[in-house]
């Protein structure tokens, strides 16, 4: 029994070595990294959102525009290549990157430890979003304490619902969807709407909410990261240089203004200030 097992083990090891050698050979022949391929093709392919104004959306003529597509265009300019934008959604964006259909992803993706196992996040994170509340301008609230005991509409199942009601004493009225919650707000069933700050910015762009604002600081902000395929260190280095330079020049703040965001992200403002100091 024992001897048989030894023989078996040796066979397995031999087979493994042979397989490893084959893979090594095959891989060695086309060992061009993504950065080299991009320079050869002359095109940088970036995955962006096309349904998330103002971060990435389609114009009437079909072009994808927004803060993140503009960042992608700037990135391509730095590399001296053309840009190709590919619309992605949350459920497929990581697969697009892993399968090589896009070289870089700038698609409102939160940095999480779990995702960092699947893709290579490029430090530093470029943006951050948290939860915030959309309230009438006439309320003139200056701190979250102004909302204590007030009824605020929300979305059922949002992870920050409990935190907001525990920390600031909001009385939440949670609905199944955004449309119901906004209708309830419009009908005066609540004084505000608790939601992701970036999505509230999108709502505030609409004229129907012109008497509403998002004056309070966002809470529990989670950072967003640009990502490349695992192991693409050279490409990551280029992207890293670009983000550092954006922070120095305030490029993302300018894009926020360009696309109508009324409240600069605290996260970006701090990054810009830190970069200016050196």
């Amino acid at each position: 029994m024992k001897r048989e097992k030894h023989i078996m083990d040796r066979r397995v090891i031999l087979a493994g070595v042979a397989a490893a050698a084959l893979i090594g050979l095959g891989g060695g022949q086309s060992q061009a990294d993504d950065l080299q391929q991009i320079m050869q093709k002359g095109t940088l392919t970036v995955g962006v959102k096309a349904d998330y104004p103002p971060f990435g959306f389609r114009q009437a003529n079909g072009d994808i525009v927004g803060i993140e597509p503009d960042m992608a265009r700037d990135l391509a300019k730095r590399l001296g290549v053309k840009i190709a934008l590919v619309p992605v959604v949350a459920s497929n964006r990581i697969q697009f990157l892993q399968q090589g259909r896009i070289d870089v992803m700038i698609a409102t993706m939160n940095y999480t430890a779990e995702r960092a196992k699947q893709v290579q996040f490029v430090p530093p994170n470029y943006y951050a979003s948290g939860y915030n509340v959309m309230i009438p301008k006439a309320m003139k609230a200056t701190s979250w304490d102004a909302l204590k005991g007030k009824t605020v509409c929300a979305i059922q199942g949002s992870f920050y619902n409990r935190g907001a009601s525990e920390k600031y004493g909001l009385q939440l009225s949670a609905f199944a969807g955004v449309a119901e919650a906004l209708t309830a707000l419009k009908q005066g069933r609540c004084v505000g709407f608790l939601y992701d700050d970036t999505a509230i910015e999108g709502q505030l762009l609409k004229s129907e909410w012109s008497s509403y604002d998002m004056p309070l600081p966002s809470q529990d902000a989670e950072p967003w990261g640009i990502s490349v395929k695992k192991g693409e260190d050279k490409l990551a280095a280029k992207v890293h240089d670009a983000i550092v330079d954006w922070n120095k020049t305030g490029f993302i703040l300018k894009l926020e203004t360009k696309y109508g965001i009324k409240h600069h992200s605290d996260f970006v403002v701090k990054a810009h200030d830190a970069a200016k100091k050196g």
């Binding site: 009438p136 059922q156 992870f159 619902n161 209708t183 309830a184 009908q187 005066g188 004084v191």
Partner: protein
């Protein structure tokens, strides 16, 4: 923390998470949710039964308009989904009512979520109760109302003192069915953010991911609530039993 709560905290660590038994925040909203479910059930059971009694009277009325109103009401509320009715009342109907303006320039509706849920569920279950009471009334032989009339009862007095008491005994089993359904339908109030039992359970399981535990909790609580109602209705049936009627 007392021993009771710490026991359930240990239980949570071992995989069965019942936060409404050890976490004060979850406990407060959960028990308030249960209370609201009971309130909503009691209010709608009373209101829908009253609607049923009045509606069945109107259906048998000599006045054509009263009959028409009762029939249109039954068809409208029995033949449309209760969730659609709740949405219609809460979001659609309330905009037609007068509002009061608050300090921030918002127009506040007069009725809140609970009131609309209670109204809409009462009307929904009431439409079934009308038909249930009609079935009871029509089971009473014409000879009975003729006998009452010959004894000098007016139509409404005969309905109140003779026909309805007999009819209720006949239609109690069907009425129990309807009221059981009504208690279960109160869960639809979650759609307009009335923090009843299903709503608070949903909040708790989205915070903690303990969906199976909360589902089991919900099933057990509704079994108990409906069980109490059924036991009460059985008792009522026994107490009202008249020898010779319906046998």
């Amino acid at each position: 923390m007392n021993g009771f709560a710490s026991f359930f905290q240990h239980l949570a660590a071992s995989g069965i998470d019942l936060p409404y038994l050890y976490d004060s925040f979850d406990a407060a909203r959960f028990w308030h949710g249960l209370l609201l479910t009971i309130e909503l059930s009691v209010v709608t059971i009373a209101a829908s039964t009253l609607i049923g009694i009045i509606g069945a009277w109107m259906q048998a009325s000599r006045v054509a308009v009263a009959r028409g109103i009762a029939n249109v009401y039954v068809e409208m509320f029995r033949n449309t989904p209760p969730l659609v009715q709740i949405y219609f009342f809460y979001f659609g109907m309330s905009t037609l009512l007068p509002t009061v303006q608050n300090a921030y320039g918002q127009h506040l509706p007069l009725l809140g979520g609970f009131a609309w849920a209670a109204l809409s569920l009462s009307l929904y279950a009431g439409s079934f109760s009308v038909e249930i009471f009609r079935s009871g009334i029509e089971a009473i032989p014409n000879a009975t109302s003729e006998a009452a009339e010959s004894l000098g009862f007016t139509r409404i007095k005969a309905y109140q003192h003779i026909i309805l008491p007999l009819a209720i005994r006949i239609c109690l089993p069907a009425l129990t069915n309807n009221l059981v359904n009504l208690i279960k339908t109160t869960t639809l109030a979650y759609a307009i953010a009335v923090p009843e039992l299903l709503y608070v359970s949903g909040q708790i399981w989205s915070d903690r991911g303990n969906v199976p535990e909360m589902m089991v909790t919900l099933l057990v609580i509704y079994l108990v609530l409906v069980g109490i109602l059924v036991a009460f209705m059985r008792g009522l049936e026994r107490a009202l039993k008249k020898p010779g009627l319906g046998t």
